[in-house]
Amino acid sequence: MLERGESRTFKSIPPEPTGTVRLDVTESAGTVVKQWFVILESGTARVRRPDSETPRPEPDAVLRTDNDTFDRLVRGEERFVPLFFRNALVVEGHLGLVHMLATVLFAGPPTGHHPRDFVHEEAGA
């Protein structure tokens, strides 16, 4: 999805900030089990899994979280900012970049309403 320049929230990926975010997803014990590099650049995103062939890019920021939390973020059951504030995920480096990536990548809760729908439902209730 990201590769195609799409976002679950915005019409397109904002042109700034730019940089590389390393996503570290850990098991509950803390071992990193999955790792991606997301390179955000002038409205595009490239996702890379690390391999032995190419050198790993130097990230501008690291987002580290466990498997469960990551899944809940993806499903919209948790939001990035409160998780970050209660230290349930860790950010190193450029916070603005990680925040942008999280905004592009993670939509709101599945229960979220369009406000007009909400008003209609309440009026009908």
């Binding site: 900012v81 409160p82 504030f85 209660r86 230290n87 916070l95 709101g108 979220g112 007009r116 909400f118």
Partner: protein
């Protein structure tokens, strides 16, 4: 009786003490050391030989520093102390307290100096609502330091207290047993460090980096800030004092967010020391002619945090500009929705208005181009999500029924929007000023689309929509027999007929038909709204009017500054000057510092303005008010190549010189004198229509 408190601050880190520099636990009251919405010290009491101290005098050196001169024991008629104590408290990343003990006796003295210290790590909302903690507190001593710790799951807060002289440390504080020679002196420096989500040695987390990085040094910038602001000379001392006070307070009340590189204005001490969309935008609007550098970081942070999805708890929608951002435990654990909370129906159009107004002053086209996507998203929000009923008006109705705001306009208390007979309208509600902001945002959006975004079609569309809105607004909100605009529309589209200050904002937005402006102005300055100091939030003719009601009778300096701006726009110069005169005179009773609000009593009844109980002071947009009033008195307007000046001064002010007003013209001077024309005009107030943007 509320005990007098003192506060010093550095951004969103601040200390509130009593008059001797102590903090004693007091439920529901915001005493102590706070940072990022958490209380890191809830007890801080100095004793000498077991006795509390009594204040003799103090000097408030700067907004970040206070010095207390104290003697041990209760004050008696005949004080003949053999010891005295000087405490100097300074706030920055840490709280630093220097204690000096002086022996005035000819004998040596053995003295025990004791500081009691504790931290309850209360979230600011727990303080407000007096709620217990859910996590675990612990205390330990390490290397002569007192370490207070709080944790709840992975959420950590720590306070570390250390001294530069050896102390006897216990769980409740530290003691220094000293011997003072005759006429001797002893001193110690204590340091209190608040720590958020401590990561342990060498951790590179954002929290640790924030703690270590040299923040924009607000206090070192202070001189530069004052130096860059226009210099004011005038013959009315309260105006000079209010201007000075405002500049200092605005400088002090900026904080460095975790991502922002430049400081952002906070809303008010002690309850609102954080980012609010509406407040930061109004502060920026008020201060543009004086401190234009305040605005770009506000635009940047609000743009970064612009809504992108649907979230009922946070009342988030795509394109919506946030209402309130909090960092504390209640936000982190989602007991409160402030991460961020989007429950305001005005911040999105106001964002567009600020972007346009900023360009008019600064000529900074680059910024207008850069925030084009966010401005378009905010404009889209008005029609797609703000227009709840599809009637062309911004309505609001909270989706967060647990702790969302019932009223999502600037008067956001539960009872602020009522019919004249006191009934509360059903939801959703459309307050009048929201429609004015929407109109102005479209007019300004059209200008930016045409001049900077290279999209004339979009500009045409916005202008058509604005014209349509203006037409239907003047049909649906106007109450002809009373001669004013209704406070709001109810869900059926019927007018909520209370007479309120909100329609002053309509003048500012330019949505008022010129032939109706005179009647609106007469209401605003009439006896039921105007106290003699300023315009009440709600007129005395409404059943819910209460002179000490927050949004139902109190007078808000911020509100009055916008009303004066609106009166100026429609050419009611004498009326605008009368409000400026009332406000500036009132500020003289508060050492130049206008509080958040004061009571709506008639000026002739009390003779002095009565501060609203529990008002925030300093308050950001109250500090901004004297600046905007100065702008309206001098009649400043930005033009591409020059600053236009068209003064109209009230009777109390004979002369104003404002030197080095920054803007796209470089620096320009503005002079105003009260002339005979003004004196004559005071008696026959026939307005001259003013051509400004949008007309």
């Amino acid at each position: 009786m509320v005990e007098k408190t003192l506060s010093i601050l550095d951004g969103n880190t601040f200390l509130v003490t009593d008059v001797r520099g102590d903090v004693t636990p007091s439920p529901g009251s915001p005493a102590g050391l706070f940072s990022f919405d958490t209380r890191f010290l809830s007890t801080w009491v100095l004793r000498v030989n077991g006795e509390r101290l009594s204040p003799m005098s103090r000097s408030d050196l700067h907004f970040f520093e206070t010095r207390f001169f104290l003697v041990p024991g209760e004050p008696t008629h005949y004080v003949n102390a053999k010891l005295s104590v000087i405490r100097k408290q300074t706030i920055g990343i840490c709280l630093v307290e220097r204690i000096v003990v002086l022996n005035h006796d000819i004998e040596p003295a053995d003295v025990s100096i004791r500081i009691d210290a504790d931290a309850d790590f209360a979230d600011i909302f727990e303080v407000k609502e007096n709620q217990p903690k859910r996590g675990k507190r612990s205390v330990c001593q390490e290397d002569g330091r007192l370490h207070l710790h709080y944790e709840r799951a992975t959420f950590y807060r720590d306070t570390i207290i250390s001294s530069d002289k050896p102390a006897k440390v216990d769980d409740g504080g530290m003691t220094f047993d000293i011997r003072l020679e005759p006429h001797g002196r002893w001193d110690v420096e204590l340091q209190v460090e608040p720590i958020i989500n401590r990561g342990g040695g060498g951790s590179a987390t954002v929290w640790e980096a924030y703690r270590r990085r040299s923040r924009p040094q607000v206090r070192e910038e202070l001189e530069q800030w004052i130096d860059h602001a226009p210099r004011l000379a005038c013959d009315f001392e309260p105006l000079a004092a209010a201007y000075r006070r405002s500049l200092y307070d605005l400088a002090a009340m900026r904080y460095s967010s975790l991502t922002a590189t430049s400081p952002i204005p906070t809303a008010g001490l002690p309850w609102f020391m954080t980012l609010f969309g509406r407040d930061s935008i109004f502060i920026s609007l008020q201060t543009l002619p004086f401190a234009p550098t305040l605005t770009p970081p506000v635009l940047r942070l609000l743009a970064t945090l612009q809504g992108s999805t649907f979230d009922d708890f946070r009342e988030e929608e795509p394109g919506k500009i946030l209402h309130e951002f909090r960092y504390g435990e209640s936000a982190a654990f989602e007991e409160q929705p402030h991460t961020p909370y989007y429950g305001s129906a005005d911040a999105s159009p106001l964002f567009v208005i600020l972007l346009d107004e900023y360009e008019r002053w600064s000529g900074d086209v680059e910024t207008v181009r850069r925030f084009e996507p966010q401005a378009r998203a905010a404009l889209n929000w008005i029609d797609e999500y703000g227009d709840l009923l599809g009637t062309g008006y911004i309505y609001y109705r909270r989706r967060n029924t647990r702790n969302g705001l019932k009223n999502q306009c600037w008067k956001d208390s539960w009872n602020s929007i009522s019919y004249r007979d006191g009934r509360l309208p059903a939801l959703p509600r459309a307050t009048c000023e929201l429609q004015g902001y929407a109109y102005d945002a479209k007019i300004r959006g059209a200008r930016m689309a045409r001049e900077f975004w290279n999209d004339p079609e979009y500009a045409d569309r916005l202008e058509r929509e604005a014209a349509q809105l203006r037409q239907q607004f003047n049909r649906d909100f106007w109450i002809e027999e009373e001669g004013y605009y209704a406070l709001a529309l109810d869900p059926e589209g019927k007018p909520v007929d209370a007479l309120a200050s909100n329609m002053g904002h309509l003048l500012w937005s330019g949505i008022v038909e010129p032939e109706r402006a005179r009647r609106v102005a007469d209401h605003l300055l009439g006896p039921s709204l105007f106290t003699g100091w300023g315009v009440r939030t709600l007129s005395t003719t409404n059943l819910r009017y209460n002179p000490v009601g927050y949004h139902v009778g109190a007078v808000w300096p911020f509100d009055n500054s916008i009303i004066a701006w609106g009166l100026w726009r429609y050419g009611f110069r004498e009326e605008a000057a009368r409000i400026a005169d009332g406000m500036i005179t009132a500020s003289g009773y508060f050492d130049g510092r206008l509080p958040e609000a004061f009571a709506g009593y008639e000026r002739s009844l009390t003779g002095y303005p009565v501060e609203y109980p529990a008002a925030c002071s300093p308050q950001g947009w109250s500090a901004g008010a004297p600046l905007l009033l100065l702008r309206t008195m001098l009649g400043l307007s930005p033009y591409p190549d020059h600053l236009a000046v068209d003064p109209y001064l009230p009777p109390s002010v004979g002369r104003i010189e404002l030197l080095d007003v920054p803007g796209r013209w470089g620096l320009a001077d503005a002079f105003g004198r009260r002339t005979r024309r003004h004196r004559d005009a005071d008696h026959r107030s026939e307005p001259v229509a003013r051509l400004t943007h949008g007309d």
